[in-house]
């Protein structure tokens, strides 16, 4: 009986010592939906297009590029800032 009690106590103490605390897991945030939109495809000219059409299309395509570049730049800044914030949790 005494032997069994000693073995039981030893096993119980061993099991108690093996437990680990629950870790804290920060959730990585969602980026603003405005920068999650895909970049627009560039506009093409139709057959028989005039110089006016060409100029308008070029302006539109440059605007589309600048929209896309702005989103990309914002993504990079967003990631850099959040990396800095979340690396502070240690």
């Amino acid at each position: 009986m005494t032997k069994q009690l000693v073995i039981f106590t030893a096993i119980a103490l061993t099991l108690v010592g093996c437990a680990t605390p629950v870790p804290v897991r920060p959730v990585w945030p969602d980026a603003p939906t405005e920068i999650q939109q895909p970049c627009l495809p560039l506009r093409q000219l139709e057959t028989g297009a005039t110089l006016k059409d060409l100029m308008m299309t070029v302006i539109e395509n440059y605007a589309a590029y600048h929209h896309c570049a702005s989103k990309t730049q914002t993504w990079q800044d967003w990631h850099r800032e959040h990396k800095k914030i979340y690396e502070g949790i240690k």
Partner: protein, 158 residues
């Protein structure tokens, strides 16, 4: 030590302290019990029980300290996570406003440019110059879809 997380701190502390104190008292009694009438024959059980309780008390007191250290660490981290989430929300708002503002400026600039072209540039273009050769249109369109091959490859690989 997972079971400790379910119990209140004060209860665990009381349990550890009582165990430790009982261990100390019984161990000391084990050395002097032979001088007490009616109890002198229990010297050995007193010593064994005292040492066992003392060992268990020291073990659980140590475990309690570790548990408390972890709880403090978790609480500290939870505070930092909440602060980071708040900071992240502020940063998200800043970036959302920034991208909306940039888009607005680009759109306005493009509209202004279109108006300038329609109002001033077209007057200087003769009808002969207004017609574009088909080769130029094709080159423009090919340039506009330079990434088509990449997109095709990516869609095929999916």
């Amino acid at each position: 030590m997972w079971i400790l997380q379910l119990l209140p701190d004060s209860l665990i502390l009381w349990f550890c302290n009582i165990l430790l104190l009982a261990g100390i008292v019984l161990t000391l009694l084990g050395f002097f019990v032979h001088k007490i009438p009616f109890l002198y024959q229990y010297q050995l059980p007193f010593k064994i029980a005292g040492v066992l309780l003392l060992a268990a008390g020291v073990y659980f007191r140590g475990g309690y300290s570790v548990e408390m250290t972890w709880r403090e660490r978790v609480a500290e981290l939870e505070k930092k996570v909440v602060a980071a989430e708040n900071q992240s929300a502020v940063v998200n708002t800043v970036f959302r406003d920034r991208v909306v503002y940039r888009d607005k400026i680009v759109r306005e600039q493009a509209e202004t440019l279109v108006q300038v072209v329609e109002r001033e540039v077209f007057r200087t273009i003769t009808p002969e110059c207004n017609n574009l050769p088909n080769d130029l249109i094709e080159v423009h369109n090919r340039a506009a879809k330079l990434n088509e091959a990449v997109q095709k490859m990516e869609s095929e690989s999916k």
